[in-house]
Each structure stands twice: as structure tokens, then as C-alpha cells.
Amino acid sequence: MAKPEHDDLSTLNAVVNRRDFLRVTGAVGVVAAAGGLEGILAAHRAPAYAQGTKLHMVRWVDFIPEADVELKRQMPEASKALGAEVTLETINANDLQPRITAAIQSGSGADIFMFQYNWAQLYANSVVDVSDVANEIAKAEGGFYDVYTPSAKVGARWLAVPHSIIGNAVAYRRSWLKEVGATEYPKTWDEARKVFSQLKKKGKPYGQTLGHTFGDAPTFAYPVLWNFGGAETDASGKKVVINSKGAVESVKFMQAFWKEACDEGGLAWDDTNNNRAFHAGEISASLNGASIYIVAKRQKDKIKDEKGEPMYQDIDHAGLLPAGPAGQFPLYLNHSHAVMKYSKNQKLAKDFLRWLHKKETFEKWFVVNEGYSVAATTVWEKHSMWDKIDKPLQVFRTAARKTRIFGHAGPSTAKATEAFSKYIIVDMYANAVSGKMSAEAAVKWAEGELKKIYG
């Protein structure tokens, strides 16, 4: 039997009468209301959740398996701290939305769901206001990255608690770039075109998906559009402005870059193809999270370069895609947690999220990630982990600062999500690079589709 948290044998042995019970639970209730989780912990007693209370959280299967292992390890600790049984279920990322939709429509399901991007806008009517939790975290940790305001805040209310951001950086083979005279990653798209054109001639192209996949395709296509000065809408979010000089230039550039420098099979890739192609030595660079490097390092005996050396030693990262005429603006995958309106354990769910974001809890998960997932707040940029991890991973330390979200330059509303879900920006490039449309026609096609959405 586990040792009780407080060694008060008399409490264990005594028969708890009604008066004692009311006194204890009342005290816990008061401190919980007054001081949240801190109060609960200060009271050294579990809160008065009914016996057998369960809390169910659903998250994706992490690309870093160790991160899931750590999170699952934490669940019994959470159960003990909160006095309720907390369970974590991990499912394929593509299955999150079907599960959320089914849960909302049926009014039953997990109490907490992991949200991606701006899903808080999409499911605003079905989640509870978690401003109290979010504001506590923001206050304690120096504020969230800017991207969370359009992503998880609806009006003045936080509808999901920001959790973490996956920085998508370009993983590249250092020695291969040196072979064509590039001692560092190209800073502009024009430089990138020269470098990767030469590498493609040597059978080492740039690898990029433009397929229907939620991660690497949009996190490439939107930044390319923004870097050339294009945008979906104006700042009001009502006027579609994609048919612009910048957007047409970006598509024209991509047509040439695709043909001269890329693996043209990328039109059919999903989010895992580039990892496999990179590890197999088929491509010289690819926009991806830190998983290419981390997996190569953790499987260094299997993943080797052409000289038989562990490949991770030759991998480096560029934090941002090359700059276009308008600058460098990434789209990173941000994650948050939402408490569902139908949940009967909303208070418990909020207490759990507080617990999850406690420094000593979050830190263990954060460290395991080695930069793959960074925190939602800026204070974690100062964590000592950054000085201990490998240099290629340190690029993710501040990577989340400049990230934008789709819908730019307007607000990231449900309409922006519709455009994102229909892959309109991704397909604008895919239509052009596949030769199906000219650059002008592809932009016009995207304009037509966006106008139908934005009305």
C-alpha cells in the first residue's frame, strides 16, 4: 500500500464522523476556490471530488514517443494530487477532429481535448471559458507567444489553455550543402534556388510536401505566401486580397523552384514521407519539426550517412524558411487544451490543467522534448535545457516568437479554418507546380475559392 502523503496515523485509524468530514471537505473547498491548485497543495489534502470521479484527456500520438511516455507516467501523479482518476488517451493526429466533432454533437466524450492551431475559434460554442487558468499561467510565466491570441482567444475569453508549439525548421545535410559551396543555410529564396538546383543535379533534391496533410504542407505554403508579401485577406478579414503581385510572384518562384530544386514526388507526400526520405539519404533538406534530428540521434546505430557515420552529426537546422521580399514569417503548429462544455468535471479539468502547467510537472515533459515542442510562454526560453541540448536543436529556443497563423492579415476565424481545411493555399501552389495551371490562373483559382468562403 502506498504511504499516505501526510503521516498522520491517527487520521487513518480514526473513524471519520460526519462533522469531521464536513470540516475537512469544507476547508479544502474554501482553499480550492480561493487559491486553486496552490491552495489544494497547501492544504496537503486531495480536493473533495466524489469518489470514483474520472477525468479523461485526449491528445495526439506525439512524434516524439518519449514525450508521450513521460506524460502517461505523470497521470498517476495527477490522480494522486487531484483525488480523481485522470486518464490520458493518445490517438492519431488526424483522428482528433472526428473525435471532437462526435463528442460535441453527442454531448459526451473526453473532458479535455488537445486543440491544434485555431480550433478554439472553430469550436467556440462547445468549450468553456478557461481564462482563469490561462491568465494565471500567463501571469506566472511572462505571457504567451503572440500567436495564441488569434488562436485560442475569442473576444476577451481564453477558450483553450495554450500548451506548446512545434517549431518547423528546415533540417539539412551540412556536408551536402558545403559540397555546392554553401557554408550556411541560404538566407533568401534566390540563394536557396541556386543551392538546391545544384544539389538536385547531384541527386540530392530539396524535399517538400504539397499534399493534403495537416503539418508540413501548410507550414510551408503559408510562409512562402507571406514571405513574398501575399495574404489571404486584408486586416479586416472581410476582403480577399490574395490576387496580388506578391502572391503571383511567390507562385511563379515556386514553379521554378519545384522543377529545378525539389523532389517532384512531394505532391503525394504526407507528414512522414520527408522524415523517411531524409533518413534514407534521398533528400538534402526539408521543412520539418525537430523529429528528423531527434530520431536520427536516438537511432544513431541505424540511421547513418553514406560514410557509415551516424547521420545526426551531419544534420543542422535553419529556424525559418528563407526570406522573401517581404520578410520571414513562419507558421508553426500550436497546441492548446480545451475543456468541453458537456463535461461534468469542468472544475476538475481546470485544476488538472493548472497541475499540468506547474513548473515541476511541465518541466519534465518539456525537457524530454529537447526542443521539438517548446512551451507556450516566453519564460521557458531561459530554461537550462537549452544550454545542454545539441546545437542544431537550439534553433527552436526562440523560433515561436515570429509565428503567424492562417487567416493573416485578418483574424484567424472559422472561415480561415475552412480555407485551411480545404487546402486552398497549399493547392494553389500544387496546381501551379504540377503544370495544371499557370501562376496567374492558380492565384485566381484560390481567389475564387476564398471569396466563396469569406463571402
Binding site: Q105, G211, H212, K422, S434
Partner: protein, 322 residues
């Protein structure tokens, strides 16, 4: 009562008196009900009607309502008439999706019928290991679609395709074939995978039909000098036609509403080249949360499938009349 029973336990007659006597009137009334044909029919049909109502009628009515409303996830919609249908009709992705669905269904069904018929005719002959061949032919049909489609996706993989590797090593190609990265190729690849998966259903069903044909008819035709083609066209085909019509109709329904295969193989890409109505409806309804618009796209399947079923029923009724 219990004590009374125990006290009287020595005598069977007494025991009979002690036990509560069943009411004699109830079974008689129930039997009278059962003898009533209308009531009996109601009782016997009730489970089927309940099942059909809950699992078919309710979802269908719900789907129709959703398609006529502005419902999105978590937001009960309002009646919007046919606005969702009009929006879909003017949507270029929908137009492409509709074309893809017709092309996919037509060619996949044609290939399945042709190859299925050919296979059934082969398997109807006597040869050693016939049973093993017949059983193994069912494999594509037995393996879960998601698993087999994953295997095909690997075979068509843009980087690691075993097909490209074999063709390259064999000296047949100099550059990789764009199985899934070119829109037209990707749709044909999906048709091939669908044919591979669905052909056994055709073959087994047609084989069952072939085995009901009396061999004497073929013998008689042979004696009259009919060759293989004439025997097939004038004897086998007319007798096999009813079964073929049923199989084709089922196949059209399944192929037209296919989802799993495309979802796993291409996700509708590249650039919507392989989207079918079901995958596009899913994308809109689930990923974008627009349940009303997603339902409207799904319902575009309904008139097409209704016509197909109507033709089938009409044909079968005519056969019954003959």
C-alpha cells in the same frame, strides 16, 4: 407461504394446491392475439422496423435536415433551404470531385466486371488446387481496406516505390513514374486498387451464378456447333445476366460512396485530383466543422444511387414477370 409448502411437502396433490396457481386467462388471451394475423405480423416485423428506423431512417432524415440547415459543429443551424446545395454546385472543388467520382466509379466497375467475369470463367473449370485458388482469391476482399491500401500506398510511394524500383532495375524506365504525385496517375492508381479489392466479390458471385447453369445447355450448344464465344454469348451470358445486374448495382453503390481507400491512399490530393464525394464531404463536415455543407455534398450521391437502384429493381421485376 414457504412454511405452508414445507408442511405439505409429503403429498404431491397437496403441493399442487400450495403453489401459486397460474392465471388461466392470460395465455388464452395471448394465444388469441397470436392467432390474429395482423398482430402477429406486427410482432414479427417490429424488431426489423426498429432496427431500420434507428440505423437507416433516422440517420438519413438527419442527413437531409443537416443538408438543409446551416448547422456547424456545436452550433444548431437554421433552415436555409437549398443554399448548401447551390454553394456546393458553384464550388470548383466540388465540380472536380463530382467528375472524379463518376470517372472512378465507371472505370473501376467496368474493370471489376470484366476481370471478375474472366476470373469466374477460369475458376469454373476443373484443375488441380482449384479450392486453394478459389479461397486465396478472396484475400483482397478479406483484408481490411485500410491495411491493404496502406500496402498499396507503399508500393506507389513517390520515393521508395517497389514498382519503380523493379521497372528501373529492369531497364524499363529512366525516371520514377509519378504514381501518386501526378493527379491523373493518382486517380488511375486509386481505380486499380479499387479493382484489386473489389474483383473477388464479382468473381465469387459470378462463379456462384455460373455453377447454377445446367451443363447440358453447353453440351447441346456444342453439339449444334457453337464455339466458345457463341456458347458464352448465347448460353452463359443470358443466364448470368440477373446475377450480374445485382453485382454491378451493389458495386456501383459501394464504389460511388467509397471513402477509406482514397482517405488512406491520397487524402484527396494532389490538388483535389482524387477527391470523391465522400472524402470531400468528410473534409468539409469534420475538418472545417461545416456539417450542413458536408451533408449536402453527401446527399448529391443520393439521386445517382436512387436511379441505379431503380433501374435494378425495374429490371429484376421484368425478369420475374417473364
Amino acid at each position: 407461504m414457504a412454511n405452508h409448502v414445507l408442511e405439505d411437502a409429503g403429498s404431491a396433490a397437496q403441493l399442487e394446491v400450495a403453489l401459486p396457481h397460474p392465471a388461466t386467462s392470460k395465455p388464452a388471451r395471448f394465444e388469441r392475439f397470436l392467432e390474429n394475423e395482423r398482430f402477429l405480423a406486427f410482432i414479427l416485423l417490429a424488431p426489423a422496423v426498429i432496427l431500420l428506423s434507428v440505423f437507416i431512417a433516422y440517420p438519413f432524415v438527419m442527413g437531409v435536415w443537416l443538408s438543409l440547415s446551416s448547422t456547424s459543429v456545436g452550433i444548431p443551424g437554421q433552415f436555409v433551404g437549398i443554399r448548401n446545395f447551390v454553394k456546393a454546385w458553384n464550388d470548383s472543388i466540388f465540380q472536380q470531385t463530382l467528375r472524379n467520382t463518376f470517372v472512378y466509379t465507371f472505370w473501376a466497375t467496368l474493370f471489376k466486371l470484366t476481370l471478375g467475369m474472366w476470373l469466374a470463367l477460369l475458376l469454373n473449370r476443373h484443375f488441380r488446387g482449384k479450392r486453394i485458388v478459389r479461397a486465396s482469391m478472396l484475400l483482397p476482399f478479406i483484408i481490411p481496406t485500410v491495411l491493404s491500401t496502406f500496402a498499396w500506398r507503399w508500393m506507389f510511394d513517390p520515393t521508395f516505390s517497389v514498382l519503380n524500383w523493379v521497372l528501373y532495375r529492369g531497364g524499363f524506365i529512366m525516371t520514377k513514374l509519378p504514381f501518386l504525385s501526378d493527379g491523373a496517375w493518382a486517380l488511375w492508381c486509386a481505380i486499380i486498387v479499387n479493382t484489386w479489392r473489389g474483383m473477388p466479390f464479382f468473381a465469387i458471385t459470378l462463379l456462384a451464378g455460373l455453377q447454377t447453369i445446367n451443363p447440358d445447355l453447353h453440351e447441346a450448344a456444342s453439339l449444334d456447333g457453337a464455339g466458345a464465344w457463341h456458347r458464352f454469348w448465347h448460353v452463359t451470358w443470358p443466364l448470368l445476366k440477373p446475377v450480374t445486374i445485382v453485382v454491378v448495382v451493389f458495386s456501383i453503390i459501394q464504389t460511388f460512396s467509397d471513402f477509406q481507400l482514397i482517405y488512406v491512399l491520397t487524402g484527396g490530393g494532389p490538388a483535389n485530383s482524387t477527391h470523391l464525394l465522400a472524402t470531400y464531404a468528410y473534409q468539409l463536415g469534420v475538418a472545417a466543422g461545416l456539417l450542413g455543407e458536408g451533408a449536402a455534398i453527401s446527399l448529391f450521391m443520393f439521386p445517382v444511387l436512387l436511379v441505379v437502384v431503380w433501374i435494378q429493381l425495374r429490371y429484376l421485376r421484368r425478369l420475374e414477370g417473364v
